[in-house]
């Protein structure tokens, strides 16, 4: 570089040249990165505390403070939380809740995603008279506080004989997930070129033919977003779980709350934190693995039709 400049300097005059000198540790940068660091620590601390506490033995929990790392790492609290922790009378740990959540989440995600994607496709491409009225009701419906609909849905489920049953909860999740998912799919299918749909119709494909053979292969990303949204949403649900299932089929969140907030016996904070982190593990894994898709999913809730 210096050699190249040598020959050119004749045309240069004095004074500032090149980039404005800027120290890496300017006051602005220290302030900016300092603030961001403090904020990041604030947000990270609860996760840290959860992990640290869950790896300590009870004597150490009682002596130390919640931020100090464990002197002796023990996985006993995790084992206890998983298989022995007590909820009121029974002491069978979180595992039952976990498997209940799995049995609730998988069919709920599948059914709600299928129904919502068909809805969205119909609304985007096959608008029949009145379709938009139902869609508008659906969107406004998503703002109705769940408490208003809790009891009518109880009656509905009782009528079809599914109250207190896992299948009933699957229906509930399908119903309450429908507005946001339908909106998500409708917006996505509307953004695809309409010529594609027209070309397929000219080629003689019908409602299901176009959906299965033209639209589905193009919508893998949006299905991923919808599935992430639903898995985290349903896994994290508490209210519907507590209302529409019985103690035998409580999802994990309800089981967790019952374990931690049960008033019987000595409080074992390490077991509680182990249980808490186990419950958070599924959505956290999804979040850290899917990254951008998760952000797209939650932003989709804010994108209006």
């Amino acid at each position: 570089m210096a050699d190249a400049l040598e020959s050119k300097t004749t045309s240069l005059r004095d004074g500032p040249r090149g980039p404005k000198p800027r120290r890496t540790f300017s006051r602005r940068n220290i302030l900016l990165y300092g603030t961001l660091f403090v904020i990041a620590v604030y947000y990270a601390i609860p996760l840290y505390v959860m992990i640290v506490t869950s790896l300590k033995g009870m004597p150490e929990v009682r002596l130390g403070n919640i931020f100090s790392p464990p002197l002796e790492i023990t996985f006993a609290p995790w084992v206890k939380a998983w298989s022995e922790a007590c909820t009121g009378l029974t002491c069978r740990g979180l595992s039952i809740g976990f498997w209940n959540s799995v049995r609730i989440t998988i069919p709920s995600v599948i059914i709600s995603t299928i129904i919502a994607s068909v809805n969205g496709y119909g609304l985007a491409n096959w608008r029949f008279k009145g379709a938009n009225v139902f869609f508008t009701i659906l969107i406004f419906g998503s703002f109705i506080p769940y408490q208003v609909l809790l009891y009518p849905v109880v009656i509905l489920l009782r009528e079809i004989g599914l109250y207190g049953d896992l299948a009933g909860l699957v229906i509930v999740h399908t119903i309450f997930g429908m507005p946001i998912l339908t909106l998500l799919f409708r917006n996505y299918f509307s953004s695809l070129p309409e010529e594609l749909f027209k070309a397929a119709r000219v080629d003689g494909a019908g409602f299901w033919g176009i959906f299965l053979r033209v639209m589905l292969p193009m919508s893998i990303p949006i299905f991923a977003v919808a599935i992430i949204l639903q898995v985290t949403g349903i896994w994290n649900d508490f209210l519907f779980g507590v209302v529409y299932t019985g103690p035998e089929s409580y999802p994990m969140t309800v089981a967790l709350n019952n374990i931690v907030n049960s008033t019987q016996g000595v409080v074992e904070y390490n077991v509680n934190m182990a249980a808490t982190i186990i419950t958070g593990l599924v959505p956290l894994t999804i979040y850290f693995v899917s990254g951008k898709l998760f952000v797209r999913g939650i932003a989709a809730g804010a994108v209006k039709g």
């Binding site: 609909l149 994290n236 939650i298």
Partner: protein
């Protein structure tokens, strides 16, 4: 050739729409109407069409627990709204300064949003535990009189819940605000620099007004989340100490499924519906009604 029956046009599409139609009509419209109607009855353990007029509402508004619930929701709601917007927006602007490690910072700030309210509530219950948590740590550092036990002090208990709520929800607002900031024409920034307008003024007088749509959608999302506040309370405080952190959603649940007083539950939930309607309907009119004229 005979014109095909209108009913059978796009027949598959109509069949496929049945779940949506049933949900919209029977659950959302029907369910809401049902609850509102039964809020005027004397339903106890089971719903009964025995009219009592506005009795349930009168009882509701003379019940101390309901009044406390409403007050708590107001305090929590207003503080949450203000703080979540301020924090979310400041975080977004900080991240928007072309910082390095943007992805790491964003990931750390947003992860609480992936956790359930139950998990959130339990973690903060532990951190705010006066015997082991923040209070004891600061006392160990020498300030032996330091007191910070929001979950045991009825006067400030609701703020203990607020801390947890902010931790869980501010990442979402940040993400939405950041998307809004990124959506602003970069040339606006250039024009402001040529005009010699300092960055903070550009944010305040130019960028924030331009982000109105993002602010409104975020507002609607946050508000409808606040009204639904339930799981967090149940997990973190159980409504206590005493009734210090009761909220309307919990009142409804307890009346319906605990106290076998369905009528009260219906009346209380109807009041919640009215609250949401007061926010959503003006928004909807602004958002969708305005376009026809503009």
């Amino acid at each position: 050739m005979k014109r095909p029956n209108q009913l059978f046009r796009n027949f598959s599409a109509k069949i496929a729409a049945i779940p949506m139609i049933v949900t919209a009509l029977f659950v959302f419209v029907g369910g809401t109407a049902w609850t509102v109607v039964y809020s005027f009855t004397k339903s106890g353990l089971l719903p009964r069409l025995k009219w009592v007029g506005l009795d349930q509402y009168e009882r509701l508004w003379t019940t101390k627990r309901w009044i406390v619930s409403i007050q708590n929701l107001a305090i929590y709601g207003i503080s949450m709204l203000v703080l979540v917007f301020v924090i979310g927006f400041i975080l977004a602007t900080l991240i928007d300064q072309k910082v390095r490690f943007e992805n790491v910072i964003r990931t750390v700030i947003l992860y609480p949003f992936a956790l359930s309210f139950v998990v959130t509530g339990l973690v903060w219950q532990w951190i705010l535990n006066p015997e082991f948590g923040i209070q004891s740590i600061i006392r160990d550092l020498g300030w032996t009189n330091f007191a910070f036990d929001p979950l045991y002090n009825p006067k400030i208990a609701i703020f203990g819940v607020l801390i947890a709520g902010l931790w869980q929800g501010s990442g979402l607002v940040m993400v939405l605000m950041l998307a809004g900031l990124r959506g602003i024409d970069q040339e606006i920034w250039k024009a402001a620099r040529v005009d010699g307008i300092p960055a903070w003024k550009t944010y305040l007088f130019i960028v924030i007004p331009m982000m109105r749509p993002v602010f409104i959608t975020t507002l609607v999302l946050v508000v409808s989340g606040i009204v639904k506040l339930y799981d967090l309370i149940v997990a973190q405080t159980g409504g206590g100490p005493g009734i210090a952190t009761e909220v309307p959603a919990k009142y409804v649940y307890d009346m319906m499924f605990g106290a076998s007083n369905l009528g009260q539950g219906f009346a209380a939930s109807t009041m919640m519906l009215v609250t949401v309607a007061l926010i959503v309907i003006p928004w909807a009119m602004l958002e969708f009604g305005g376009k026809k004229h503009g």
